[in-house]
């Protein structure tokens, strides 16, 4: 039965992707991209990737849609004059497709436990996580500890994107412009005069933030971790901004706090790494942070996940405010 469901979902993915590219209305394309992200998140879950499914749903279907809508509000909504060089593009795409299709016939059988990807490092991680780190979620253990350098680089990539967007878009034009995506024609401080979304939105925001904190700290025991939590907390604040208007959100969490979160998270990660050197071991070695190596690893993972969560929250919210305050100057 899972076979049928998997095939059905994949077919829906292809149909949605074709519709995204074919439509000329960019608003429709962005909405379909959100649906595409949710479908692929369900697909990831069927393929036993719970952490990845959570991240894709939170980041792809949630934050990415809001950013695209913010950009659409600042540019135009319809795409003009379809395609150029249609036949040349189609022939290039078709020949590339044929080459890659030919390659797929040599791939190992789907689900084969003796495929090359399941040898070497992966069984080592699965066997040695209880011994070295002793947390149930192997993905968090690998992400936080065994492959900690990669995650450090990723935090700095997120940070760079944040300061890049702030450089590009942070010049406030003519004072604070109306924010939010309220209906056109409203003098637009969010959706304040629409009672139902306002009440329900304000009711939901504390629960979303609480769930974000749960995902942050529960990342060692189940699917979760810093990235998902950062996206969720940012989504909570974005919901508040959409309902109450951007000025009140900036009063609740000012721009200086956002910058502090962005910088503080990355610095926290680096500081944990340097603490390893200061306490006598190598960079990003968490074993020396606690009484025994295992508890040191756990303390290290909690600290760096907090750093990751802080940076992702700060960056996503700062980018949202940058788009929202660009306004219609």
């Amino acid at each position: 039965m899972t076979v049928v469901f998997g095939i059905f979902l994949l077919t829906l993915l292809v149909i949605t992707a074709a519709a995204i590219v074919r439509t000329q209305n960019l608003f429709v394309a962005v909405m379909l991209l959100g649906i595409f992200s949710l479908l692929i998140a369900v697909n990831f879950f069927i393929l036993d990737a719970a952490d990845v499914a959570l991240t894709e749903a939170a980041v792809g279907a949630g934050i990415s849609t809001v950013l695209f809508l913010g950009a659409l509000a600042l540019t135009s909504e319809r795409e003009r004059l379809g395609t150029r060089h249609r036949w040349l593009s189609l022939s290039v795409v078709a020949s590339a497709a044929l080459v890659v299709l030919y390659a797929t016939f040599d791939k190992p059988r789907f689900g084969d436990p003796s495929a090359p990807v399941h040898q070497h490092v992966a069984p080592w991680y699965l066997e040695n996580t209880p011994a070295y780190i002793d947390i149930p979620n192997v993905v968090t253990a690998v992400l936080g500890s065994f492959r900690g350098y990669d995650t450090l680089g990723e935090v700095f990539v997120v940070f760079t994107a944040g300061i890049g967007v702030l450089f590009l878009l942070s010049v406030r034009r003519g004072g604070a412009a109306p924010g939010g995506t309220g209906a056109p024609g409203t003098p637009g401080i969010g959706l304040r005069e629409h009672v139902i979304p306002r009440v329900v939105g304000r009711l939901l925001v504390p629960f979303i933030l609480l769930f974000g904190l749960y995902v942050q700290f529960h990342g060692e025991y189940g699917p979760g971790g810093g990235f998902q939590a950062g996206a969720l907390i940012a989504a909570g604040f974005i919901l508040y901004a959409l309902v109450e208007g951007e000025e009140r959100t900036l009063a609740a969490l000012p721009q200086s706090w956002l910058l502090a979160l962005m910088v503080g998270g990355a610095l926290l990660y680096g500081a944990v790494g340097l603490a390893g050197i200061v306490l006598g071991s190598t960079f990003l070695d968490y074993s020396v942070l606690g009484a025994n190596p295992v508890s040191g690893q756990q303390i290290g993972i909690i600290l760096i996940e907090a750093g990751v969560g802080m940076t992702v929250t700060g960056v996503l919210l700062a980018i949202f405010h940058a788009f929202a305050s660009r306004g219609r100057a």
Binding site: L10, D48, V52, A71, G164
Partner: protein, 117 residues
């Protein structure tokens, strides 16, 4: 199972090519960015498909004594890749907004015309 595995890889190829076509053939800058997002999603699908093990479960040690786990390593890579993808998309959207303000249009051929003048 053979068919299901090949179907996953073929869907990956189709999604890859749809995203590639959107980047190459469309002239609207936001459509190109959407195409890049589709392209990235296809690559994620490929990696996670490769990590699945028959009869396995998510790589989380829960109490009910499962012993066969799916591969955690592609999941870690894709977790990083998703976040990097949204970072580059956000930066790209910022550039598109500034291009619109400077040139007045986000269609590639119109921007080239304005540049040549």
């Amino acid at each position: 199972m053979e068919l299901l595995g090949l179907y996953h890889y073929w869907v990956f190829v189709v999604l890859l090519m749809i995203g590639f076509y959107a980047v190459v053939a469309k002239v609207n800058l936001i459509k190109k960015l959407i195409g890049i997002s589709l392209f990235q999603a296809a690559v994620f699908l490929l990696y996670i498909t490769m990590g699945k093990v028959d009869g396995g479960t998510a790589p989380i040690f829960s109490g009910d004594g499962a012993t066969v786990f799916s591969n955690p390593l592609p999941q870690v890579l894709i977790l990083t890749a998703i976040v990097v993808g949204i970072s580059t998309t956000a930066l790209g959207l910022g550039i598109v907004v500034r291009v619109k303000e400077e040139y007045g249009s986000i269609e590639e051929h119109e921007i080239q015309e304005i540049d040549e003048r």
